[in-house]
Amino acid sequence: AQSVSQHNHHVILSEAASLELGCNYSYGGTVNLFWYVQYPGQHLQLLLKYFSGDPLVKGIKGFEAEFIKSKFSFNLRKPSVQWSDTAEYFCAVIRRHSGGGADGLTFGKGTHLIIQP
């Protein structure tokens, strides 16, 4: 079965610091990758997605992620974080079932990011 690993469960940064959140996945075939964010009291929202093409993907709010196939990684980055980036961040891969098709998402356990003013 596929799995998604997020290495840091809690990250605390100061404003203007650079951010990199790690994500590794286990599936060896074609992958579609996502980063979702959940701000306090709000529902999950898509930050960015990768399907194919340029492995450097730009998302909303200045976030970007790089797909490195050889490392099975899809790390999330932001050059300068803001207090408003405090949230829970989830990496996810499209779930592939035994029939070879794809349907839902397999999520990592999440990274709780706290930005201190």
């Binding site: 529902h43 898509l46 499209i94």
Partner: protein, 117 residues
């Protein structure tokens, strides 16, 4: 409405009671997903509908869990004889097309927080 809605937002049930959780997807969305999110964890896939057809229910944890989407729009997740381990946030997501048809994303609702006492 503009987004996915779920009701109730909070539900407290005594152990052994049956509960029903409702999801209203975005109008016209073909795909509908249910996820279970335990405290401190990422969402875990439960089941998937394409229109009214339940194409994958491999994530349902036991036969006490049942989902339906009879007219291809609103969906209900029912849990019979609730147990304490069922306490979690239940998330619904919808997607415009079926998997493999376009690079569209899943839109998540706010979730229903179920507490079994």
């Amino acid at each position: 409405g503009a987004g996915v809605s779920q009701s109730p937002r909070y539900k407290v049930a005594k152990r052994g009671q049956d509960v029903a959780l409702r999801c209203d997807p975005i109008s016209g969305h073909v795909s509908l997903f249910w996820y279970q999110q335990a405290l401190g964890q990422g969402p875990e896939f439960l089941t998937y509908f394409q229109n009214e057809a339940q194409l994958d229910k491999s994530g349902l944890p036991s036969d006490r869990f049942f989902a339906e989407r009879p007219e291809g729009s609103v969906s209900t997740l029912k849990i019979q004889r609730t147990q304490q381990e069922d306490s979690a946030v239940y998330l619904c997501a919808s997607k415009l097309k079926a998997p493999g048809q376009g690079r569209n994303e899943q839109y998540f609702g706010p979730g229903t927080r179920l507490t079994v006492t």
